[in-house]
Subunit: 244 residues, 2 copies
DNA sequence: GAGTGGTCTAGACCACAAT
DNA sequence: TTGTGGTCTAGACCACTCG
């Protein structure tokens, strides 16, 4: 029966089971973008639940941006360009997983070096003071979506260099290690330089969305991050309240 | 009957009517923060609809952050009311004047036309329905900084075409004419097309920051605006305190 | 025990799109 | 005409909180 679909733990609503089943198919790659999802009638039969229950699952996934529904036509896996809110401090890995996709990342650089120029000024440190510097490349389903260059104040996060950033993103680590009390964001459209183009695998004509973020904790700058995204693969968004 | 609660236009789902009723009570101040909302049973009786319908309305309002629901206790008007947004609806003219600079603008287009493609979809209107379409160029100290292309729902702002937009920006007019209750923003980096390059006086290599904004009032889309800025002359920025 | 919200069913009618 | 999603009903059982 449909009990087989329930989570082992037991107490999960049926519509959650249906949602989980669909998200798993998308996450695993079984259902690519634009793939047609079984109709409500089919899912009703397959899961042995009522149509209202299936409908709720599909409606919620549609509201979460994972599916697109067209009356009279069907339900499809949403194309969904990457989209996030600049308001909060977003976690790129979580954001990607929330879309049902796979997040992977490479550590391209992780070291201590003398602060110079803008990095020193943004961190509020004297020129030549030691800083931590990291460069990460984040991918969504294998496609580069964010280049994360980050400078970290060693006084605030002394263990930064010892982390395994293949398991926990720098963002995740810093958020739990030193919860910041102030944030600054700047958003710009920029032309990528040669190194950025190579890492993001884009050509010179593609503009990039640059999000710069600084965070503070108890008056000291924690980190200055430059997050560069290919314009064709990422955008920032936010909705206040719901659109009906 | 519950027909009295329906919108004059007719076709509104019942759960929408219930939502609208509650939102109106909150917005008007009748129901302050922490006010207890009538139970599902009471609303079912008052509206003459089934409990499932009432439940959906309350569940969605809860998801949108307007209500808080506690099983076994009741439903209450949520506190909070979002932190100030970095992407509040900005008024380009005011923003420029706040920097001590001079704002000028040209009306390049202002007319009614049949909605097509994206404009129709974004406004939630059928293809070919009449819409208002305007194109404005905004300058800071004589230098173009924003190209504002805007589509407006005639049903919501019927007098749009009669305004003098050399004195009041479309944004200012719409904000005071129909105060929106919902906003959506999207930010992208894009390459400008030929017409945009010519109007903004930039060359093909310069990326542009595109801010798309939709606003709603009482469930209907008011306007969809595409604000294009030269990457070298404009950026979005924001500082705020983080909630611990 | 009474009242609340959370979930679920088995039907129904409708609007819409494709054939 | 067929199949799709959108809405709605009138019940039902459950978990939970409170007096």
């Amino acid at each position: 029966m449909n009990q087989m679909l329930r989570k082992p733990g037991g107490a999960e609503p049926l519509y959650q089971s249906v949602k989980r089943f669909i998200v798993d198919r998308i996450r695993s790659g079984d259902w690519p973008v634009d793939h047609r999802v079984p109709s409500e009638t089919e899912l009703t039969r397959d899961f042995g639940v009522s149509r209202m229950t299936v409908h709720r699952a599909l409606r919620e996934l549609s509201g979460e941006g994972l599916l697109t529904r067209v009356q009279g036509v069907g339900t499809f896996v949403a194309a969904g360009k990457a989209q996030s809110s600049p308001l909060e401090i977003r976690n790129i890995a979580e954001e990607i997983r929330a879309r049902g996709h796979t997040h992977t990342s490479d550590v391209r650089l992780l070291r201590q070096e003398p602060a110079k120029g803008r990095a020193a000024r943004h961190l509020g440190l004297p020129d030549g003071a030691p800083v931590f510097h990291s460069l990460m490349l984040h991918r969504e389903n294998g496609i580069p979506v964010q280049l994360e260059e980050r400078y970290v104040n060693p006084a605030v996060a002394p263990d930064y260099l010892d982390q395994d950033f293949s398991r926990v993103t720098p963002n995740e680590y810093l958020m739990q290690a030193v919860s910041p009390d102030q944030v600054e964001h700047l958003i710009e459209a920029v032309a990528p330089n040669a190194a950025t183009r190579r890492l993001l695998k884009i050509d010179a004509r593609e503009p990039c969305l640059l999000l710069e973020r600084r965070t503070w904790a108890r008056g000291a700058v924690v980190t200055w991050a430059r997050l560069t995204h290919p314009g064709s693969r990422y955008r920032l968004g936010e909705t206040f309240a719901h659109r009906p």
